[in-house]
Point group: C2
Chain length 512, copies 2
């Protein structure tokens, strides 16, 4: 019998009491990895609480990676609390007296989420950084953009600076509409809603589709910002594994949909972040069939899709969608200017008004200065020209990265060979840890994003992401060559675990 005590009169919600006590039992070793914990129904009956209370506590512990359910066998402690090197990082100072008041217990969450960006080394001036996946700012078409901004402020300045419409600045709606209709993405009954980047698209869709306790399906590994968007909604996140080079596994999706009341799934079929993999046409059709069968809306994250540099384009989920269940989110952030924060959702009619209300509650509307400048940049054909140019740049850089990997990596190292996007996903020989590699690499002036930052669960510590888009071919070759040397050394060396945190040079990089 577990020593659990629930205090119904406490200010702390019942499920949080239960969650915290279970977490504490793991910490002090009274529950060990492999231990089975009682089914929620049984524990609820014993504690005299509602089953939802136990389910909520379990859901949070599962999201933390502390427990894991095995179909037909029960729920078990995985003991990730110690296996994760992040827990070795110095704890953030406890909220203490700040001019008088203790903040403990006043926040919605007892502990702040761990900020992934704090774990990444800041980009030094001289370091060769493969950390981020973003366009190189030295190739921004600045003069073009400035002319656009000037022109719209001259012609429609008053309107731009006054409060606007929640759905988007009309000239941007028009410019996007013309483009996306020609692309076959915007159907006759679809609507466009302008967002502050894809990140906001995810956040608004979480608001529209998910209640506390609902489940959302994400790819595993995935873009960490997706997890962040859902984390404050008190929802359960289910990961569907991504197959090396082949994208998310439709069978795993079917399995998950069959066993969970999934209310939304978020997929990135093209040049998936971080794996670089692309879903085949056949698998796209399978995914859409599943969505229709289980009536689950699909969010298609299209942010990298237009950065194809070789091979044949595959129709988007949105274009293939017959049931009208796909909502596509997209952005200028990878195509042109991340700092502008202009993105959009293409949604079926039934979703549009819900999304508009969510956007209104979130921030009324996206900055019209940014929207107007973006609209003009599109309208003048500058975006199309810029994308053309950047695809040439990225083709060379991707090529350089793949060549360098081929040349520099010892046997046993594998990597994706994407036909576009901004990243290559590298798998080291089993037993090597990318975080340890990063400690060494940083000493030699090379940086990358360890793969574990992208996993919801089942993190593969021997994976890493190389973002090549910001580096020229020479630096890519040099960086990969240095990495190759370090991997060789690491395979030889006895493996001593080192903490990444606590070192100098840690800064705040937003991982995109």
């Amino acid at each position: 019998m577990l020593p659990l005590q629930i205090q119904p009169e406490s200010r702390i919600p019942l499920y949080a009491q239960l969650r915290d006590q279970l977490r504490a039992l793991v910490r002090i070793g009274q529950l060990m990895p492999g231990d089975r914990i009682p089914p929620s129904r049984e524990l609820a009956a014993r504690l005299g609480v509602h089953r939802t209370t136990v389910a909520n506590a379990y859901a949070e512990l599962e999201a933390e990676g502390l427990i894991r359910g095995h179909v037909g066998r029960g729920t078990f402690i995985c003991g990730k609390i110690d296996a994760d090197p992040r827990s070795e990082a110095p704890q953030p100072p406890m909220p203490g007296r700040n001019g008088g008041v203790h903040w403990d217990g006043l926040f919605a969450e007892e502990r702040a989420e761990e900020s992934l960006d704090r774990l990444l080394p800041a980009r030094g001036r001289s370091a060769i950084s493969f950390i981020v996946a973003q366009p190189p700012q030295d190739l921004f078409p600045l003069d073009d953009f400035r002319r656009c901004t000037n022109a719209v402020l001259r012609s429609r300045g008053r309107e731009i600076l006054q409060l606007g419409q929640t759905g988007g600045y009309p000239p941007l709606q028009e410019a996007l509409g013309a483009w996306l209709r020609a692309d076959g993405i915007l159907g006759p009954r679809d609507h466009i809603l302008v967002t502050s980047g894809c990140q906001q698209g995810l956040d608004l869709l979480a608001r529209v589709f998910l209640r506390p306790g609902d489940a959302v399906l994400l790819e595993n590994p995935t873009y960490p910002g997706a997890l962040a968007a859902f984390s404050s909604r008190h929802v359960r996140v289910i990961g569907a594994p991504v197959r090396a080079g082949a994208g998310v596994d439709p069978d795993a999706i079917g399995f998950a949909l069959d066993r969970n009341r999934v209310k939304l799934m978020v997929l990135m079929p093209d040049f998936q972040n971080p794996s670089g993999s692309t879903l085949s046409l056949e698998d796209r059709r399978k995914v859409l069939e599943l969505a229709e069968r289980y009536r689950v809306p699909v969010v298609e994250d299209y942010i990298y899709a237009r950065l194809r540099v070789s091979g044949q384009p595959i129709p988007s989920l949105k274009a293939l969608d017959r049931a009208g269940l796909v909502i596509q989110i997209d952005s200028l952030s990878k195509l042109a200017f991340p700092g502008l924060r202009v993105g959009w959702c293409v949604t079926p009619e039934a979703v549009a008004e819900r999304l508009r209300l969510a956007k209104q509650a979130a921030d009324l509307h996206t900055s019209q200065l940014a929207q107007a400048a973006a609209a003009e940049f599109l309208r003048r054909g500058m975006l199309a020209r810029h994308m053309e140019r950047m695809r040439d740049v990225y083709r060379k850089r991707l090529h350089a990265a793949l060549e360098a990997l081929e040349r520099s990596m010892p046997e046993g190292v594998q990597w994706s060979a994407p036909e576009g996007g901004m990243c290559v996903w590298v798998t080291l020989p089993p037993g090597l840890d990318a975080v340890e590699l990063l400690v060494r690499a940083r000493e030699r002036g090379v940086l990358f994003a360890p793969g574990r930052l992208f996993y919801l669960d089942h993190a593969q510590p021997n994976t890493l992401r190389l973002g090549f888009s910001e580096l020229n071919e020479r630096r890519i070759a040099r960086g990969v060559s240095l990495l190759g040397q370090i991997v060789r050394e690491q395979t030889r060396r006895s493996r001593t675990r080192r903490s990444l945190a606590g070192g100098d040079g840690l800064g705040a990089v937003t991982l995109v």
Copy 2:
């Protein structure tokens, strides 16, 4: 015994089943206004559900104004379902087949929230509209602003258009810091976080402080966007009444804090929207004492505070705060450019990192183009000059509005006499309905915002808000004079209820 049936195996959450069935019983008349409904504990026992389930259902019905608890007496039907003219509006088309799939039941909320902005008449070219509270765009310092935008794009364009820091663009942080320190608002341990307007400030604070089921205290009446920010968080909203001319009632706040587990309160001490009232220094101290005693963080909405045109400024809650519990939200939207969507929060240290994580999950960061232009506008002293100029403009307009009300309104009409802000709050004689008045007024080319749009509950149908900031003195005088005539006619006329909705000219105006 109420005919209630809960289906534990349904996809629909238990509390939603209960809520919907109770709502239906009111609609078909089986529950009538004045009827007492069972205490949550009793009903939970009878239905075999957890008490939280019933409490959640009741909380939602209370938020809708359908039921109301009376301390010591029980919970009663108020029957607002029919009293609200909005329910006479044509229902939005049920989500039907959109290319194949029924969307019923797929959203987080069964019904879309009612969009207040859809209820407001669009601003015709010729109509005299008192609807909005926003700066007049014909007085925007456009050339100044365009020069700022140009300058920053020339000097720091690459950095601006690249992905930035979540907390804010550093030059804007610096410019705001210098200003707010000089103002006595930014303390040595405070942090600034840039947001996309005050609306996003509210939304992020809801994320940081509120779990599903928590309670938040708002002023009643209040800015409708505040309610929108909390509505998707599944929290209970408690209204504290605003006293005519004197601001929110501290005794009512004390009463509410004593009886509810309030986790956050949102107050607008200066020129409260919509009432125009200002809280006295004594009442500010009382509110802060209560916050400290009950350990409840206070959000001070400072958006109108700098628009004082007469009388003595009163120190802000932030400046008076000794306990470090006040978070101030503010924005350029009333001071200069609403369409730019640049606002900020001033927060105690303990809150800053939580808020930063919430912002990162929401949209990574606010558009740096908007931030950089705003920073330059501040840095060059242009904002200070513009505010000076606009205060002169608003002083004349407020004066014109108050004079016209004095001249044109029949006996029995009352109004606030604010010393700043953008609105005058008018109370018609009891029995008159501002929505009916608006139907008449629109025919004569005058528009305003009916007071009921601002109430959380206990709506006073005989109230209305006159936003004077966009209109010149001549149009203010003419508009108020027409309104006076219509009020006279209405008092004489037999009162026939007319539906506002369904008429032509309805458009989408965001109510700020």
